[in-house]
Amino acid sequence: MALLEVNDLHTQFFTRDGTVKAVDGVTFEIAAGETLGLVGESGCGKSVTALSLMRLIPMPPGKIVKGSVVFDGQDVTKMDDDDVRQIRGNNIAMIFQDPMTSLNPVLTISRQISEALELHLKMDRGESRKRTIELLELVGIPSAAKRLDDYPHQFSGGMRQRVMIAMALSCNPKLILADEPTTALDVTIQAQILDLLKNLAREFRTAFILITHDLGVVAGMTQRIHVMYGGKIVEKADTGELFANPKMPYTWGLLRSIPRLDERRKGKLLPIEGLPPDLIAPPPGCRFEPRCQYRHEICREKPPELLPIPNAKPDHEARCWGTQAGGWLVDIDWRRDIGDTKQLEEIKQEVATLPPEAIRAATADVPPPPAAQR
């Protein structure tokens, strides 16, 4: 049985401008000890998915309107608040994106880490202090015993992220959600933190969901990858398969836009043209259709389902009309065929004529602030 089964999850934000369908029918599962990557650009619903798993969506304006999150046989969406709090930190832990703001500036490191220990494992001060030192050593903080009573401002960004990881590990959770754990760090520290996470996941057999917009980060870390776009999962595959044989044009776009060391061509990096969809009024057909240079008429009309792909591994699925049996993208070599350049020009044209406010609104990283509710 899977550790976590997410079934048809819908999370929406009810704002003044309309209902934002931030997560729109996400289904996936993760087994104990497995690492899963959730990839997609800003605003595609990755973080909201993660927050929904722990019921941390701010309500109002947010709400899980449909679907279930079954963790260890229990549906998180139907629990009462006390039971959810029992799970948070204890069974599911979270590592946040920005270590600079995720630690309480007025509490010492030891107070913050031992909070979960005292809460869930009912340790007393002395025990939790001892355990905190162990945890800090585990995540590679030098002279941990001396730094225990330091405040967050005395730590560097990478060290703080290690503290956050120590916090997440404190109660030996079965699942850790890492929401862009390396985005706020510089590249060398990123590598260290990723190494640390990888080793810890192996050592403790903790399941990991790694959320990122950087395909390079998940490449070496995860067993499977789910690509999200516009609140939906658009491609599921195991990591090797996804990089070797990606099927969804959006995934191609992501892969084309990251630099590769082993690139033979002297070709340019190709950005994905256009803007991410407005999740208040998403496109009626495929969510990616307005930006897709491989689109056909049907893409505009009907939303595709997430289905297995004829000439790929059996657990490789994509949400694309072109990759379904008999589709026009099944046998295409995505590295050579960059699609219909005329449509590419059209997309560029469309964006160029948009008013600047629309572009700003669409590329804003954050969902509408809660203040917008009234």
Partner: protein, 319 residues
């Protein structure tokens, strides 16, 4: 040679390894350090300490009983006035009933200190509770509490105080501890609203911070989030506002006593002394000037400390 080479090897090695060898310093320790370097604030602290000592040990320090009348020696001038009416037995003179002004000033500091601190404690409790609940829960709770706060806020402070004091002064409640209890409550009722709003604003912005979300993600209960995570973060501006609430409470007491509806005579307070001295102002100004000077010095001291605290706790804040 450089100092580095002069250092013992182990120590240098430690420095190289970035092992913390310097003294631990907390946020509050830092603030205290900044406060200590602020001369005006330290002047304020010293003055307040003196006033506090005078208040606590008034019976031992004051040369006379403050309400004992020496009718033969009424209206003596202070020794520094070079007046023919100065009397060495009363260094700061006496009032029209022959009561020693120095003793009365010393005893008055008791009332001022108590009136400064007790209502402030009440304000602290009520303001923080209301502000926290309102900001944290939001929605209907927030609306209800804040509209109530707005109503009190809209009322002119002094008018409110006068109405309460004038009406309840002669009831049994007004007689408790010579009117002090009523004064405490009245000042607290008028002044908690500002703090409640301040705390609410702080909580509103703090509760969206990531570390609060991180605390939630660990499974911390809302009550504990408020007490352990929100409250200490909101404390700095609260302390500053408290430091300013104390002098305003002292001033309110003096004002009310001056217009005759504050603390009941014969309990000496600076306000009462000004009120009584006013009657003989044309004969001699000292019974008015001396207590007024005391009020000014104490007010100024608290304001200096408040300013110092603000600078120390939030060096970025500019007002």
């Amino acid at each position: 040679m450089t100092t580095t080479t002069a250092m013992p090897t182990s120590q240098r090695r430690a420095a190289e390894l970035n092992v913390i060898t310097r003294k631990q310093r907390s946020l509050w320790g830092d603030a205290l350090h900044r406060l200590r370097r602020n001369k005006a604030a330290m002047f304020g602290v010293v003055m307040i300490a003196i006033a506090a000592v005078l208040a606590i040990f008034a019976p031992m320090i004051a040369p006379y009983d403050p309400i004992q009348q020496h009718t033969a020696d009424s209206l003596a001038d202070p020794f520094f006035s070079n007046s023919q009416y100065s009397n060495p037995a009363y260094p700061l003179g006496s009032d029209q009933l022959g009561r020693d002004i120095l003793s009365r000033l010393i005893w008055s500091s008791r009332v001022s200190m108590v009136v400064g601190f007790v209502p402030t404690a009440l304000i602290f409790i009520v303001g923080i509770t209301v502000g926290m609940l309102s900001g944290f829960h939001g929605g209907r709770v927030d609306n209800l509490l804040m509209r109530f706060t707005d109503i009190i806020y809209a009322f002119p402070d002094l008018l409110f105080l006068i109405i309460i004091m004038a009406n309840l002064r002669n009831t049994p409640a007004g007689d408790l501890m010579g009117g002090l209890v009523l004064m405490f409550v009245a000042i607290a009722i008028v002044n908690w609203v500002g703090l409640a709003r301040l705390v609410r604003g702080q909580v509103l912005s703090l509760k969206e911070k990531e570390f609060i979300e991180a605390a939630r993600a660990v499974g911390v209960k809302p009550g504990r989030i408020m007490a352990k995570h929100l409250f200490p973060n909101a404390l700095a501006p609260v302390i500053v506002s408290m430091a300013f609430a104390i002098p305003s409470a002292i001033l309110a007491e003096a004002t009310l006593s001056f217009i005759g509806i504050g603390i009941k005579p014969p309990t000496p307070t600076w306000g009462v002394m000004i009120n009584e001295g006013f009657v003989v102002f044309s004969a001699t100004p000292w019974p008015v000037i001396l207590p007024a000077l005391c009020i000014s010095i104490v007010m100024l001291s608290f304001t200096f400390v408040g300013d110092g605290l603000r600078d120390a706790l939030d060096p970025r804040m500019k007002i």
